[in-house]
Symmetry: D2
Subunit: 244 residues, 4 copies
């Protein structure tokens, strides 16, 4: 039986190899921590891919065989090849779902789809983050409740250089005094995009149940309805035209 | 006295040199036809620039000295240098207004700011186009009335591969049976963008009063409120953080 | 086994009793023509209700037991009681889906949820209507294709006095020269709303396969994720407040 | 010389008469505190009106002679007559600007224009409020900077039962741990609406410079471009229709 949902989790996978603190939190890599709860979803096939693989692990028919792609990157955005970014972009515009995590706000693929700076304020400290659910009826927030807290996280603050979201899902409160649109969706072409803020590599956010639940909900929400490649057709008239 | 509004009209300026029919319609180039009514606006300084100039006429401090940029391109989008496109994009995100005309839907700059295919249906025939004003209170439609007609134009049809506009301004009816979102606005970063459909090079749309009025209105509407370059600052806490 | 989707189709049900032409087209009432294809959906329970029933057929726990409500009204909007309208509105805001058909644009419930005039241009003549699908990836347009035609319909034209839709689904082309946003969605509170234009009582639109398909798709799309009644709670602080 | 901008500031004006603490803060009424900075704008005529006046001070041609209406109400929303609310609503839909302040979120006029519950969390305590500017290029935020603080205010928290704003302007951080969309705009009909959160009657927010600046900016931003009364016209065909 073929899986009903084919997921690929992409990770830069560099911090885990260089920083023992990160390796201690994510011994198999952030991608495995993100992938594990998705593997528990019924009917789901989950693959992983990372930067240092050939074609960043996204060659062959991997993208065509992916319904939803999750993306975590941070220090090596510039090393992602423009050709791969362009192929991911075309797949999103054709229908593939894309979930961009945390510092992925500065990835080439997110910036290419948004068209904006995607800049923000930031601070690595000991902030508490409280994510308020501003879309209680949205599929992404089911089971989450009114709000949830992450005991320690990097701070991201407004203004966030994004186009107005189609749907604002979470707004974060930080103990240091800032706010942030920490969950938001966009439709681009035929694909759905969700940006979700938590997940600095030196904190264990991806081991937290609420974060896992949001990512699982979003993965199900982002699955494609269609796969429509780009065309720009010359179209004959459907009615009789006036004489020239 | 310095002008209150500094406008640059950019044109590919190739069709006029190769196609005598286009040259007959626009003997000084499409840019001059677009620029002339803007020169009549009080307090406005209007420059022109085109593809075959050094840096496409957009070098030096031209972009920094431009409040609103208008863009017409068609057959040579690929010849526009990526470096110039990136500088125009950064200026829009910092606050400059951008008005994209007709086949500019496929320009590098429009596609980069939209993040989508910007594809559409099309037909060069003898269509009548009727533009319906769906935003009668918008500054761009003042003086236009309920609708206006262009006797002969290239047809553009839906689906149009754009992100949902912030404001939908015009919807076109074509005699051949199609419809099109022919006027739409987006905020991207700190800049305002307006796409306006009319203007195929073999038709005299830019000599028509309503088209000129819309472009003049849009130019005034798109003027910047700010000039804020991109930053992504590390920010100290405003409140006392919890202990680590 | 309880149904997974409980649908109520509401109809004014007056024209069918007064106008033999309408009765010939819809001998069991427009509600039965709308309901029939929905009854064929698996797991769906479909009820009907109409104006001249006690509480317009929406008393008791009917609304609480309704997941998606469809609404057709035309000549007797003013006879719908404000109390029933208010109860329907609260149910939509709590999560119930609402599909408003054709002249329902002027129903009390649609106007109450939109907050605007909901006015439009109109003409009862022999127009052909062609609905262009501008959201090919949306659940509501699956199976519909690029466009579809209704051979004869009442014309509705822009400007349409609605708030900007969250999603624009169809734009209609009319042979008489107008355009119209003929399919559009809004989130209001926790409920989803879809407005769909076709369905003048003197034309057989609800017997047409594409119209039925759109309504079935929309009914499935509009089903609730939650049922959250309105509250405005006094909330204790989650952090220690500064001293007064 | 006639004024270029005619403003009416409406206040419930009850707390000031009953609660000495409120009277001490706003000895001439909240309306006078709100109106005073607007009177300093060049070319502006500012009137005030309140609940206990005949027709709540909004009779005769007051509304027709008002370009922008500001609204503060709290404990007596139910005493505002439905007829006056309907007239205000029609004026907004025709083009008048409306600025709704603080507890006006629960006014009849705001709820009627939004179509939603407009509910929220709240707490009267000793919260600090920090308003983050998420729209630095918007006319409403000019001169405000990155953020500003109100030392003591009532808390309003998410979820806020509003339709998605057309533009999100401010997000508030509260010391007690909540966030709130504290500045937001909507277009409804031909009018512009701005909701601005600060202003509980027991705190001096309307004496604070940043709050005054935002309200002045919003008043200028909200001025009408048109005055178009509601019509729903029968429209003759613009093209030759197919035979019946």
């Amino acid at each position: 039986m073929s899986p009903s949902l084919r997921v690929t989790v992409w990770n830069e996978f560099r911090h885990e190899k260089k920083n023992p603190d990160v390796a201690a939190l994510y011994p198999s890599g952030i991608h495995e921590a993100v992938a594990a709860p998705l593997r528990a979803l019924p009917g789901t096939q989950v693959r992983t891919a990372w930067l240092d693989q050939p074609e960043h692990g996204l060659g062959g028919d991997t993208l065509e065989q992916t319904d939803v792609l999750l993306w975590w990157g941070h220090g090596a955005h510039a090393e992602v090849s423009d050709a791969v970014v362009e192929r991911v972009k075309q797949r999103v515009l054709a229908g593939m779902g894309l979930i961009v995590l945390h510092s992925g706000h500065y990835s080439k693929i997110f910036k290419a789809l948004m068209g904006t700076t995607c800049s923000l304020k930031w601070r690595v400290a000991t902030d508490k983050e409280r994510l308020w659910n501003v879309a209680p009826a949205h599929p992404i927030t089911q089971g989450i409740g009114d709000h949830f807290e992450i005991p320690a996280e990097e701070m991201y603050g407004e203004p966030f250089g994004i186009p107005d979201p189609d749907e604002l899902i979470f707004i974060s409160w930080f103990s240091g005094g800032e706010v942030f649109r920490s969950g938001a969706t966009w439709r681009r072409g035929h694909g759905k995009i969700f940006y979700f803020r938590p997940g600095h590599e030196t904190f264990p956010a991806y081991h937290q149940a609420e974060v896992q639940r949001v990512i699982a909900n979003a993965t199900l929400w982002a699955r494609p309805t269609v796969n429509i490649p780009d065309v720009c057709p010359n179209a004959p008239a459907l009615e009789i035209l006036p004489a020239a």
